[in-house]
C-alpha cells in the first residue's frame, strides 16, 4: 500500500507493508513520515482551517484554525459547531476562540488580529 505523506511540501510517497504487528515503510525522507503513516492507519487526523463569523465592523468573518489535529471523520461535525459561533473583536492572532472543540482536545484559534 502507498500513502502520501502530507506533513510537509515534500509529499513523500511512502510504501507500507504489514509484517505481522510490524509496519515496514520505505520512501519517507524523515521520521515524521513514519508517524504520519501510523496515525493514518489507526486514527487519521487533520488540522482544520476555516472562518468564523465576527462582530467586527471591517471583517464579517475571521480566519480560524485548530491548534492541533482533530480526527479526520469529525471535520464536518466541527464545522457545524464553528458555523454557529461568533468571534468577538478585538481578537489577537493565536487567541482561543472555541475551547476544546467537541472534546477533541483541540482549541480553535484566531489566525489574524482584528481591532475593530
Amino acid at each position: 500500500m502507498n500513502i502520501v505523506c502530507i506533513v510537509c511540501p515534500n509529499g513523500c510517497c511512502i510504501e507500507v507493508n504489514r509484517n505481522g504487528d510490524q509496519l515496514e515503510m520505505s520512501g519517507n525522507l524523515c521520521e515524521r513520515g513514519r508517524k504520519f503513516v501510523e496515525a493514518e492507519l489507526t486514527n487519521p487526523t487533520r488540522s482544520l482551517t476555516t472562518t468564523m463569523r465576527s462582530n467586527s465592523e471591517i471583517m464579517p468573518v475571521i480566519p480560524v484554525r485548530t491548534d492541533g489535529e482533530i480526527p479526520k471523520d469529525m471535520m464536518f461535525d466541527v464545522m457545524a459547531v464553528i458555523n454557529q459561533g461568533c468571534v468577538k473583536v478585538p481578537v489577537k492572532c493565536g487567541d482561543i476562540v472555541v475551547k476544546d472543540i467537541l472534546g477533541t482536545g483541540c482549541n480553535m484559534i484566531a489566525t489574524c488580529s482584528v481591532n475593530i
Binding site: 472562518t51 468564523m52 463569523r53 464579517p60 458555523n83
Partner: protein
C-alpha cells in the same frame, strides 16, 4: 416577366416546390418549408433585390431550427398599467436612446422601453466602436445617407454628451502590385460620395502605421473615420434623455399591441398596458417582430453574429488608427464593414469582427473558430498580432434585413408608427442622424392631432463621470479634496477609483450591476478581467444600494454572483 415569376423559377431550381414567392405591392413574401436555418437565409438572400426595388418578408419555416423566441424578463407587475405617453420608444440601444434624447427637445411625454436590465445591452455594446467614413456604402441607400449625416454630427454630439471621441482616421492598405497606378485616381469616387479620402504612398502609410505588414504597396486614408465607446455613447444619450424628462423603463418587454383601423391603441408589456400617441420601433434584432405586432411588417431580419477580440494595452502600439488591408475587412463577402484592427478609444486594440448567420437573435456565445478566423484574417495586415495578447472577446448580433439597408420610415399601413429598424453597421455612426430624423417624423405624426412645441428647458449638456486617471495632478488633487473616494483605487488595471464606481451607481439611468458599473467606469475591463476588483465592486454595490452581497447581480435577473453566507449566524443578522 414579373419579378415574382423570376424569383419562383430561381427558388424552384434550388428548393424544388418547397418554397414559393408571392408579391403584394413592393413586398415579396416567401413561404414554404426548408430543413435548416441556413437554407431559409439562402432563400431570402437569393430573392433580395439588389436595387432595393422591393422588400423581402421571409416566412419560410425551417423545420429543424427555426428562430428562437425573444427572452423576456422574469418580472411581471403593473408599473406602467394604464399610462399614457405621447411617444413610446421600443428599445434602448444606441438608436432608441438617440431618438429619446432628440424627442426630449419637444414638450411631449416620452417613454423609453428596454427589455434588458440596462441600456446598450445588445448590439450597442457589442460592436467595434468605429465611426465609419462610409467607404463601401452605395449611393442612394439609407445607410449611406445616415452614415454621412451621423459621422458629421459626432464631434458636437460627443462634446455635448461628455463622451470621448477621436477622429483617428482609417487606413486601407493594398498589397496588389498594380495598386499604386490605379489607386491615386480613386479618391475622386469617394469625394463624389461625400467621403473625404486621400491616396497615401507606402512610405506615408508606414510612417503612420509602422507595424503594418511591409508588403503593403500603397493605401487610402479616410480621415473622417473615428472611434468611440459605443456603450458609453448609448448610456450618455439615455442619461441626457432622462435628465430632460424622458421616462426610462428597464426590464420591460413589449409582448403585444392592439391595432385598430391602422392605429396602435395600446402596447402590452410585462409591466402593464401603455397607451401611446406614437410608437417608435427601435427594437434592433427584434424590429421585424415589433413591426409584426404593429401590423406593419414589410421586412425580415436575419440575425448575423460578429465576434471581436480585445487585446491588452501592451499590444496597442501595433496600430494607432483603424487599419486593414483590402480584402481583410469583412466587407467583401458579408455585407458588414469589418473594422479590421482598431485602436479603441480606451487604448486597447480590437480585432474583428467576423460574420456568421444564426437563428438566435440573442446568441452571444463566442466560438474558438470565430476568434481564430478574425485573427488569421487581420494578421495579414498586422503581422505582430498574437493570440496570447487577447484579454477578452465578445459576440454581438447584427440586425440586417435582406435588403441590407436600414428601414427608417413612418409606418406604411399603421399610422402612429415610425420604424428605425434593420439597423446594423454602420448603425453606431448613423445613430445621431437617425435620432434627429426619427424624432422629426414622430413629431410630425403627433402634430396631426395636437400642437407640439419646443421644450425650452432642454439641456443638451451631460456631465460625465470624471475619469480620475486621465486628469492632471492638480485637477485630480482638487477632486480628491472634494471627495476622498476619488483617491481610492479599486481597479488596478484600469485605475478606477471608488468615487467613480459610486458615481456610476447614482446616475439618471439606473445602474446596480457589476457589468453595468464595468460599462460605465471600466473596473474589470483590464487584463485581470475583474479577478481582483470584481468582489470589491460587488461589495460597493451592496453598500450603496443597501442590499446584501448575495443580492448583487452580475448583469440581469438571475445573475446573482454569490449564494448564501457561509455562516448561518451571518444570515440571521
Amino acid at each position: 416577366m414579373h419579378i415574382v415569376d423570376q424569383l419562383n423559377r430561381k427558388l424552384d431550381a434550388r428548393f424544388g416546390d418547397k418554397v414559393r414567392a408571392q408579391q403584394e405591392g413592393d413586398v415579396v413574401t416567401l413561404t414554404g418549408h426548408v430543413d435548416t436555418w441556413m437554407e431559409k437565409v439562402e432563400a431570402g438572400r437569393m430573392c433580395a433585390s439588389k436595387q432595393r426595388s422591393y422588400y423581402i418578408v421571409n416566412d419560410i419555416v425551417s423545420e429543424k431550427e427555426d428562430i428562437l423566441p425573444m427572452r423576456v424578463p422574469p418580472i411581471k407587475d403593473t408599473l406602467l398599467e394604464g399610462k399614457h405617453y405621447d411617444a413610446v420608444i421600443i428599445g434602448a440601444g444606441i438608436v432608441g436612446s438617440a431618438i429619446a434624447r432628440e424627442l426630449a427637445r419637444y414638450n411631449i411625454s416620452i417613454l423609453l422601453l428596454e427589455k434588458e436590465h440596462d441600456v446598450a445591452m445588445q448590439a450597442s455594446s457589442r460592436n467595434d466602436g468605429m465611426v465609419h467614413p462610409g467607404i463601401d456604402l452605395k449611393k442612394g441607400t439609407q445607410k449611406q445617407k445616415y452614415n454621412k449625416l451621423g459621422n458629421e454630427m459626432y464631434d458636437k454630439v460627443c462634446e455635448e454628451l461628455g463622451v470621448p471621441f477621436q477622429r483617428v482616421g482609417q487606413y486601407l492598405g493594398f498589397v496588389q502590385k498594380g495598386a499604386k497606378y490605379v489607386l491615386p485616381l480613386t479618391p475622386v469616387h469617394w469625394h463624389k460620395m461625400g467621403v473625404p479620402c486621400k491616396y497615401v504612398s507606402r512610405k506615408e502609410l508606414l510612417e503612420k502605421e509602422p507595424h503594418l505588414n511591409k508588403e503593403v504597396v500603397c493605401g487610402l486614408s479616410f480621415p473622417s473615420a473615428g472611434i468611440v465607446c459605443p456603450y458609453n455613447l448609448t448610456i450618455a444619450y439615455a442619461e441626457n434623455a432622462v435628465d430632460n424628462g424622458v421616462k426610462l423603463s428597464l426590464d420591460t418587454a413589449v409582448l403585444n399591441m392592439n391595432v385598430q383601423n391602422g392605429v396602435i391603441t395600446s402596447v402590452v408589456t410585462n409591466r402593464g398596458t401603455i397607451y401611446p400617441g406614437v410608437v417608435i420601433n427601435a427594437a434592433g434584432v427584434f424590429s421585424d417582430e415589433v413591426a409584426q405586432m404593429a401590423n406593419d411588417r414589410f421586412f425580415s431580419i436575419h440575425p448575423r453574429k460578429g465576434t471581436n477580440a480585445i487585446l491588452d494595452k501592451k499590444a496597442a502600439y501595433q496600430v494607432q488608427t483603424i487599419a486593414s488591408f483590402l480584402g481583410t475587412a469583412s466587407t467583401k463577402t458579408t455585407h458588414s464593414k469589418g473594422g479590421g484592427v482598431v485602436s479603441t478609444i480606451d487604448g486597447n486594440l480590437l480585432i474583428g469582427p467576423d460574420a456568421v448567420e444564426t437563428n438566435d437573435k440573442e446568441d452571444y456565445a463566442t466560438t474558438k473558430e470565430s476568434v481564430a478566423s478574425t485573427f488569421a484574417k487581420q494578421g495579414i495586415a498586422s503581422p505582430l498580432l498574437k493570440i496570447p495578447d487577447i484579454i477578452t472577446y465578445f459576440t454581438g448580433v447584427r440586425a440586417p434585413t435582406y435588403e441590407e439597408d436600414f428601414v427608417i420610415t413612418k409606418g406604411r399601413k399603421t399610422k402612429n408608427l415610425v420604424h428605425a429598424a434593420g439597423i446594423q453597421s454602420p448603425g453606431l455612426t448613423a445613430a445621431p442622424a437617425i435620432g434627429v430624423s426619427v424624432a422629426k417624423m414622430a413629431v410630425e405624426l403627433l402634430g396631426e392631432s395636437k400642437e407640439v412645441t419646443l421644450n425650452k428647458n432642454f439641456n443638451p449638456i451631460r456631465k460625465a463621470i470624471p475619469r480620475t486617471a486621465e486628469l492632471s495632478i492638480e485637477e485630480r488633487n482638487q477632486l480628491i479634496k472634494q471627495n476622498p473616494d476619488y483617491g481610492v483605487i479599486v481597479c488596478r488595471c484600469e485605475e478606477v477609483s471608488r468615487g467613480e464606481i459610486i458615481d456610476a451607481l447614482h446616475r439618471s439611468v439606473p445602474c446596480d450591476t457589476v457589468d453595468g458599473v464595468k460599462r460605465r467606469v471600466r473596473p474589470g475591463m483590464g487584463r485581470c478581467q475583474g479577478g481582483f476588483c470584481g468582489p470589491l465592486v460587488t461589495g460597493i454595490i451592496a453598500k450603496e444600494k443597501g442590499i446584501s452581497i448575495d443580492e448583487v447581480l452580475k448583469s440581469g435577473y438571475g445573475s446573482e454572483l454569490v449564494y448564501n453566507p457561509t455562516k448561518e449566524a451571518l444570515q440571521n443578522e
